[in-house]
Symmetry: C2
Subunit: 243 residues, 2 copies
Amino acid sequence: VRTVQGTVEEALAEISGERVVVHGASRTDAGVHAEGQVASARFETRLAAPTLAKALDAKLPADVGVVAVDPAPDSFHARRDAVGKLYRYAIWNGRRRSPLRRTRFAPVQQPLDVAAMRAAAASLAGRHDYSSFQNSAAEWRAEGVRRDRARSAVRTLHRLTIRGEAGGELQLDVVGDGFLRGMVRTLVGTLVQVGQGRRAAESIPGLLAAQDRRLAGPTAPAAGLCLVRVAYDPDELREIAGL
Amino acid sequence: VRTVQGTVEEALAEISGERVVVHGASRTDAGVHAEGQVASARFETRLAAPTLAKALDAKLPADVGVVAVDPAPDSFHARRDAVGKLYRYAIWNGRRRSPLRRTRFAPVQQPLDVAAMRAAAASLAGRHDYSSFQNSAAEWRAEGVRRDRARSAVRTLHRLTIRGEAGGELQLDVVGDGFLRGMVRTLVGTLVQVGQGRRAAESIPGLLAAQDRRLAGPTAPAAGLCLVRVAYDPDELREIAGL
């Protein structure tokens, strides 16, 4: 299976002549986009950062690109040091299929009740145990990931806002200090059910309390999801949280 | 070669049981997008327009879709009856490659002088002979199209505006009563040269007067171009021209 991580590792290995391991801030699923992924890697090079960025970018395929390369302290780890992430989920709520949006938007044909979705989103934000919104045991097995049941599922969502109008493009912005696997897509799948009138906004507190993935909505399609930005200090976090 | 026209003709033939010829308002080149293409076709059907739209859409592949189907008088012809078209050309002017924009934007790395481009665009708009901006004889041959030298190259561009800022996304909106083959992409290729300082905005009137394709800029890549809307009456034309 071709992955962004593997593609970047190969390119860095060619440049540095050593085996390089790349740690991305977010381990996004297949089909998920990223315009602000951050990754750390440790290797020796004589190249200055801008030269390295150019060399690396030149070796990457058309669908993977490097925005910038920066030197970091030995201790820096893109995933462990992240204090927040902004994900954006795009929904096409038009009556008709939109071929030009098909790789970036998840289609929902039925006009959504955006006000109800916003009310539900307000209940989902905050500090909660999000066990109801993490991948099910079956999904974990399908991905070949071992689920660590001992780890806490408590996270803080600093922002969960919805822009746009029913019948057109909707954008859901989700900012959190950390995310369980499948969490953003399950939050979206649940909010869409609220927008479709298949679940009441008032049911959200009970759904959180139940800590049971089977009670939440379906996992929304990968294509609609994009990792927009990763924050590494409180100022950056405030910026993406819009505080 | 797979074309949008051929794809729609096949689907309509399956539905109607007869051979159907589809006339698109714009014969866009390979790689050019359309979110507002209009096409006419003549065939017998008992289906009401909304039912036909659904049946047709269901038969089309993922990258072609139908927005709506409307009955029209026998005399209606999507190309001949069009009184204006709005094309939008998207440029990514960032320093780095943008993989997520690669299918919809043409990349131009060097920061563009947008003010100079706007001055040149103002000289290009209006009623002119656009011979300098139509495909060259070699391009016509490569496309297998016979050029009709006797036809006038005089067209009216009602609008040629540029939104956005250097270093980011730029959108060029072009509204005209008709377009020569390759005209929008050659206009854009020439405006980009102005933005790069390789051609003065003041040279445009002379370029128009020369009526010589060899003196204009290169044909900009197909990926950046999108047919946004076709107008069929003066009100629609005023709307897309922003008058």
